[in-house]
Amino acid sequence: MNPLLLALVVLLPGIGGLGLFLLRGQGWRRVVVATTLVAQTYLALILPLGAASEILGLSLEWSPLGRLFLPLFGLLTLAMAVQGEAPPYGPNFASLGLFVLASLSGLLVSEPPVGAFLLVTAGLVGLFVIPQRPKLALSWQAAHRYLAHTFLGGAALVLGLFLLTVYSTALLGLPLLRIGVGLLALGFALRLGIVPLHRWLVEMEEHTLSMGAALILGLINVGTLVFLVMVFVEMPPAVLDPRASQLIAGGGLLSIGLGGFLGLSQDNPHRLVAFSTVFDLGFILYGLSAVTEMSWLGALWAIFHHSLIQLLLHTSLGLAEGRREGEARVSPAGILGFWGGGIALAGLPPLSPSLGRWMILTVALRSHWALGALMIGASVAILLAYLRVGHRLFLRPVTLSLEPAPPAPGEETGLGSAKNERAPLAARLSVGLILAAMVALTFYPMSHLTLMQQAIQGFAFPTS
């Protein structure tokens, strides 16, 4: 196996993104996006696990996490690029998606210190999708806040990794090592939008077009979560230190509680999606903090599905954006996607996120019944919120109460920028495929679970 193939995995989307800047014809642009993503996915599937190469001091290694997440990221990028083709997304939306994919691909194959810089890069690229014309002032403020949070988070990660790399596990008690762990926790919390640092996430979700928000929450944030797992596997002090695991568990539980119950009080669908995202992140963090094989498998399963759920929900919101004021027509794909997302977030079968959710819930119940009660209560709250808001959003004529300040009659619905009379076929197809994939993964989860087990194989769990 040529070691340069590994470098090609990273370079392909970058080259594709640059190519899109030069091409203007829509047909050619589609060809470039499809070719890039198919070629990268093919490479991701054929590269043998453990393949490694070194280029000018940069060590690259192909891990099970890469094989698991890179095809997923590729599919998501494709779905977003197709849906973001039309106005108001602008011609460079697909390029930005490919650049994010290139950064995340680099993150998946390189060592954590380099990965932290690539995460910063991906976060910075994500900023360009936030400001949008219909609500420029608000989205500009959201972008400003996002920039500060994403960069400060990245800086904390870089510095934390620096301290953890320099000090070995044997020096666990040293204050500087603890500072390193604290900086890592702060960095991830800032970057992911964990309670109480979630404000940027809510603002961004509320004022960004659906596919833009999906790019940030479904790709960049999921890349951050995968990076978190990589850091934990390679640097055990980051999670084995009792204070670190308590901090992570506390952030996770706060996010579950606040995300779930604040979600219930939301009328705006974008804000509901934001709070339910925080809620889902909370489960993932709690699963990682518990440091057992089952909880980590549950967390990895949840991370994988976090991406799919984000695409599903934002595609549904995109379908809602296409409806005009007074329109009473039911959008079956929209309501299926929105309610399906709610069911997936609540961890109910037959959708596959339920597997991960039950694994984490089992671990929590073994720890203390109150934790399980909190998780179940918050899940019920999220489910009710989705049923209620979904009903208002899709089954009733578009009303002016969806947004605090209504647009003038005949203009946009208030849910971002209305653009299409008919919902695009790609969005409907995405909803159907994601739901079908989730049902299929419920019954055939083993190939994915095996890869996840391989990814955490090297970690010595204290309780096992």
């Binding site: 690229v125 400001p131 920039l147 800086a155």
Partner: protein, 204 residues
């Protein structure tokens, strides 16, 4: 002795960037700070990284400069650029914050120098990072916030290059990509700021 000259150059550049009311002086301060950091990297025995930092810094400053020049052509000082950087009367406050940062950075560098980095290098990193964080906390203007982020990035890149965990060129060069991208993000938001400020949805 030479070290202290570099450190003084850095201090002067940061003071100008944070205190000046004209965006041209602010950007000049940022450019000089990159020069000082490059000299410091030379002092750490890393000439290649010094050249890289200077190149990347010039690119970053150029990106922001070209954007701001478009907002305010030399012949016509339009109202748009005034929104980007308003004159303020809190200079003494800013100077006090910077003086405090110098004291804190000196204490931290003496007590806890970064491993693998010289004392002077640690002082520079602490000062750059500390002043950037403090100014981010007290700042309310995008351009100055952006400059703070660039300074914070500089401190991290300096540590990344000077410390032991990244001695190879390519990883550091990859990390340096974040700098022009950050400048691009700042320029993008700065360019949209006048339109965002005048659009009607503020405060909705």
């Amino acid at each position: 002795m030479v070290w202290w000259l570099f450190l003084l150059l850095l201090l002067g550049a940061v003071v100008v960037a944070y205190v000046a009311d004209s965006w041209r002086y602010v950007l000049t301060g940022a450019a000089v700070h990159y020069l000082a950091v490059s000299f410091l990297l030379l002092g750490e025995g890393l000439p290649l990284f010094g050249v890289l930092r200077l190149g990347v810094g010039v690119a970053a400053v150029l990106i922001v400069y070209l954007t701001l020049r478009q907002l305010a052509p030399p012949t016509r000082r339009g109202p748009s650029v005034q929104r980007v950087l308003r004159a303020s009367r809190d200079h003494p406050y800013r100077l006090a914050v910077l003086a405090l940062t110098v004291v804190i950075a000196y204490g931290l560098a003496a007590a806890n120098p970064f491993p693998g980095v010289t004392g002077e290098g640690s002082l520079a990193a602490y000062f750059l990072g500390g002043s950037a964080l403090l100014m981010l906390v007290v700042g309310r203007q995008l351009l100055r916030d952006g400059i703070s982020l660039l300074f914070l990035d500089s401190a991290l890149q300096f540590l990344g290059a000077a410390a032991t965990f990244e001695t190879a060129f390519l990883p550091v060069a990859l990390g340096s990509l974040a700098t022009p991208l950050l400048a691009l993000a700042i320029a993008f938001l700065v360019a949209l700021q006048p339109e965002a400020a005048s659009s009607g949805d503020q405060g909705r």
